[in-house]
């Protein structure tokens, strides 16, 4: 026993040493390259909004020399910009952003100088005086997708009608083609064919295991706390890994560093309080948000229907400027969800019937330090975080299935600015503890507590060989010392902007060691068990995305994108025909293919319409014995229950005389479900059973899996809101609207055993009030 432990330890140490050697080569090379770039200068810094100290992404910063030559850069999510390898001399530095006054300053750069210049942008005021001008492109745009990557800003989210006056990120996500939601309850998203557990969700670098609330309109991310959200529907770069399908990388806002502001909202689904302000004016800020559902007191009474759901979240972020060249933030979030979705197929729901209950709780705390070393053209980021998920399912107070997952993570990401090349690289180390009690489901899953250590690094230079062309090849090394397994994952991203056209492609290979298990045959059971991938069967995906975007005028954008995802060794539940599931998991292979087309008309100023159509096909292939017996085929191909073939979304936002009118219509073709041939009492005749005495077990008889299609899904949501100024800095917003305006009976799920139909929410009128101190 001791020798086996020692040998494992030796193996892990050997692994770590080898990895350390390979990772150290990168900085050594970069120091050499940086040294070779002597006799040039660099200017860099952070761009913030002067009114509140918030970082401003997307600000164009450029230098003009005496001959009129331009050198430029755009600020990133942190407001960081950097222009390097420029000749010493005198320049005019300008920074511009629509709706803000242009920043202008003359600077002189010496040879080898790394000058830090932070820029404060001031909002320009119109002749109307009191009305703040909002940036014409404050939204990132629904059609603004580049090789699977779409950036979302709070203004985008506010275009979607929502049941709450404070908009939520998930409400916007479900309006995007290629993203299939489980419905208005359940809190699960399927992105371009992937399962919810194959999505990596990060908030300020912290992993959130199950971030979507039990009511499908809400997530842990109200738009009030979001700075930007980058959604990679596939083809993501070397910085991200450990998930097969997608990455949702959210950056939270920082609090107002100038003054205290806040808001409180009341609506039929949730009530919210947000507070932000300077802890140390100009230096340290706090942003805190608290939301609590009031569905049972609000929406449930409005529609006179039992809606047994409860959820809430608490968020806080402290952000500090540590001098001119460094910033530190500490973020914490806790979410809670509780609800009753499951129906016992063998119990008739009488007045005393108590359905099973699912509840989960996320907790994440993390720190992020970004700094600009004084003598290197480098942007550095250090992240430390702890994430935790507790999930339970079963009778209230006596759950039969539980899972706990914890993750400690450290990572470091660096970007070296070497002329027109940005050299990105990083290292990461994480340790997970996974502990599940599956109460009978997934019999062949090891129930021991599992510890998984993961170490690795990536390199991802970003070349700009000609104007408008960016080529970003990457390589990620992912190692699991305890298993003696390593994976090299190549990545590639190419973007070519030429005039009004943009061509893009992305691809890569991905592995997922920590995987989530669901029994997808029962839509009411959203319990997810987190476990290590079965030994020797690491789930793997290969992505390929190609896209085209054209913006012929500033009021029209059109984009088209195709994708292919090949999936290997994904885990699916084994087929069984009994109402009370006891099953095994089985490996399956599959693929997802599709395309989406988007068109955006107008701008967020007055009128904006987005039309999108997504088409996809997801196919799994399994060689499980149970399916072979059922179908008589060696390999059984089927469409999993999230295979929505077509999706159409139409969103319109209109601003007239201070009123915001938002409409959204969603349409989706029916999801697959299992058609039944009928029910019988099954006798296992594995011995001389007396058939005139033994009653047998209830059984559902299936044909091939998922051959049926549920009815189409469509819904119209409408909202109207207006902000009233009731004091110098106090505003009252009133929102009214209606969800599911024509009262479509959209199916949430069909319980095949009882043929009970569970519908999504009917027509719901909403009325929300927000009091905001700006």
């Amino acid at each position: 026993m001791r020798s086996s432990f020692a040998s494992r330890l030796n193996k892990e140490l050997f692994f770590l040493k080898r990895l350390a050697k390979s990772v150290l080569i990168v900085p050594m090379l970069l120091v050499f390259v940086t040294a070779a770039s002597a006799q040039t200068a660099t200017v860099r810094g952070f761009v913030t909004d002067a009114s509140d100290g918030q970082p401003m992404p997307g600000v164009n910063v450029f230098l003009t020399d005496v001959d009129g030559n331009l050198f430029g850069s755009a600020s990133d999510t942190d407001g960081f910009y950097g222009i390097s390898r420029i000749a010493p001399g005198t320049y005019k530095l300008k920074a511009s952003f629509i709706g803000y006054e242009e920043f202008e300053k003359d600077i002189t750069l010496q040879a080898d100088e790394f000058q830090t210049l932070n820029i404060e942008m001031r909002v320009s005021e119109t002749e109307l005086g009191e009305v703040f001008v909002e940036g014409a492109r404050e939204t990132a745009g629904a059609a603004n997708i580049t090789a699977g990557l779409q950036t979302i800003r709070p203004a985008d989210i506010s275009l979607v009608p929502a049941p709450d006056i404070s908009a939520d990120l998930v409400n916007y996500l479900t309006a995007l083609p290629g993203i299939v939601s489980q419905g208005d309850r359940g809190g699960q998203l399927f992105i371009r064919g992937g399962e919810p557990t194959q999505n990596l969700v990060l908030l300020d670098g912290m992993q959130i295991f199950q971030p979507f609330h039990i009511v499908g309109f809400f997530s842990a991310f109200p738009s009030d706390i979001i700075n930007t959200a980058d959604v990679y529907a596939g083809g993501y770069g070397g910085k991200f890994g450990g998930r097969l399908s997608s990455v949702l990388d959210i950056t939270a806002r920082t609090g107002n560093k100038r003054r205290f502001v806040g808001a409180a909202t009341v609506a039929p689904f949730v009530s919210t309080i947000r507070l932000e302000g300077p802890l140390l004016p100009g230096k340290i800020s706090l942003l805190a948000s608290y939301r609590q559902s009031v569905i049972e007191q609000g929406a449930s009474k409005l529609i006179d229907q039992d809606l047994p759901f409860e959820f809430g979240d608490i968020f806080a972020k402290i952000h500090a400027n540590l001098g001119e060249s460094a910033q530190l933030s500490v973020t914490g979030i806790q979410t809670t969800d509780n609800g009753r979705l499951g129906l016992d197929p063998l119990v008739d729901p009488g007045p005393d019937y108590v359905p099973d209950e699912v509840n989960w709780e996320n907790l994440a705390v993390g720190g992020r330090l970004i700094f600009l070393p004084a003598t290197l053209p480098v942007f550095a980021e250090l992240l430390v975080s702890y994430s935790e998920l507790k999930n339970e399912f079963g009778p209230p107070g006596d759950p039969v299935q539980t899972t706990n997952a914890t993750l400690f993570s450290f990572s470091s990401n660096l970007t070296h600015y070497i002329g027109t090349t940005n050299f990105n690289w990083g290292i990461f180390l994480s340790s997970s503890k996974l502990d599940s009690n599956l109460g009978g489901i997934f019999q062949n899953v090891d129930l021991n507590i599992e510890y998984i250590t993961e170490v690795g690094g990536y390199i991802e230079p970003e070349f700009n060989p000609i104007e408008g062309l960016t080529v970003q090849p990457g390589l990620r090394l992912q190692s699991f010392p305890s298993k003696g397994q390593s994976f090299l994952e190549p990545r590639l991203r190419i973007v070519w902007n030429t005039g009004i056209h943009r061509l893009s492609m992305a691809g890569g290979v991905y592995h997922q060691e920590v995987t989530g298990l669901n029994d997808r045959r029962n839509a009411g059971d959203i319990f997810t068990a987190w476990t290590a991938a079965p030994s020797g069967q690491m789930p793997e995906a290969t992505h390929l995305i190609g896209g085209y975007r054209i913006e012929p005028t500033n009021w029209l954008t059109f984009s088209a994108e195709g994708f292919y995802k090949n999936l290997q060794n994904i885990v699916v539940p084994e087929w069984t025909a009994f109402p009370r599931f006891t099953t095994n998991i089985q490996p399956a292979d599959g693929h997802a293919t599709g395309f989406d087309i988007r068109m955006e008309l107008g701008s967020s100023d007055k009128f904006q319409t987005t039309l999108s159509w997504g088409r996809s096909e997801v196919v799994y292939g399994s060689t499980s014995r149970a399916l072979q017996i059922l179908t008589g085929e060696k390999e059984v191909e089927y469409s999993p229950p999230h295979d929505r073939k077509d999706q159409i979304n139409i969103m319109t936002a209109l601003k007239i005389k201070g009123f915001n009118f938002n409409v959204r219509w969603q349409f989706g073709t029916g999801l697959p479900f299992n058609e039944s041939l009928g029910f019988d009492r099954w006798l296992l005749l594995d011995s001389l059973v007396n058939v005139v005495e033994v009653p047998g077990e209830e059984r559902v008889l299936y044909g091939k899996p998922y051959t049926g299609r549920l009815p189409t899904y469509h819904r119209l949501d409408i909202s109207l809101d207006r902000e009233f100024r009731i004091g110098p800095t106090t505003f009252l917003t009133i929102q009214t609207g209606v969800l599911n305006a024509y009262d479509r009976r959209n199916l949430f799920y069909l319980d095949l055993f009882t043929l009970r139909r569970v519908d999504q929410l009917p027509l719901i009128p909403t009325l929300g009030i927000k009091l905001e101190y700006k």
């Binding site: 039944s676 041939l677 044909g703 049926g708 009976r745």
Partner: protein
Amino acid sequence: MRKIHRHHTGVLITFLFSVLLLGCDNTIEPIDDSGSEAFAIHGYLDMRVARQVVRIEALRPNVLSNPISLEDVQVSTIESESGLFQIWKDSTVILNSGEPGFVFAANFRPELGRTYRLIVSRNGESGSEAIAKLPAKPPTFVNPPVGDSLNIKQRIVLQGMTEKPIQITLSYVVVPADDSGERTIRIAYGQPGVATSSGWEFDVDLVTDRIIILNQLGLNVTVKDVEFRSVSFEMTVFSDEWKEPQKEANLDNAHGFFGSVGVFEHAWFIDSGFLNTLGFVDGQKRN
């Protein structure tokens, strides 16, 4: 130009109309009832008994619905080799759970190696079918006895048989010296043996069996004047369907299980020298 415009308008109207039509449909058809009515069949033909029974159930649309009446349902069998047709009679039984169960029964004893087609239909319409082929007797080889007076065994090999038998019973016919007449002693062996490349192999333990025989005759083990007339074994075996009871390969438009149980015998002679060593008087009648 106007034609093209009209054409596009037509396409758009058709598309919107299709979406509207598709979108309005809100029905779900959870039951695939495209084929003829299927039944659940659970049971097996059993050579050991003269009355055959199967349980029949009409498939229900959901798990909570009441059993569907089988009043108009007919169950029959045809023996493929002879064409013998039999109608089965229905009856209701009370299961261990207290619920009713619907069974059909017929009085006949199936035969080894024969094939029986069970037909279940309602009002003469096409319904469910199941085929059960009774196992055939495998070629059987008896090896010469081996061992000394304390341990004499004889290996039996059933060629090609791979599955464990349900039951093996040895039958000895002996005549005690007191002239009380011929006695048959049956010894249950259970499920002895192993599957080998040759087939199923098991040993007959002649020394132990002799002690059991003498005990049953009420004689002392030292008695050596009992006449040994014959030895045989009877083996009860499952048909192939029992290898994977969930496979349903022999069912057509039916669900459940329909198999068979076969019984066969094999007799052999034991060398006189070994009988003497065992303590029997050889009375076997050889032709």
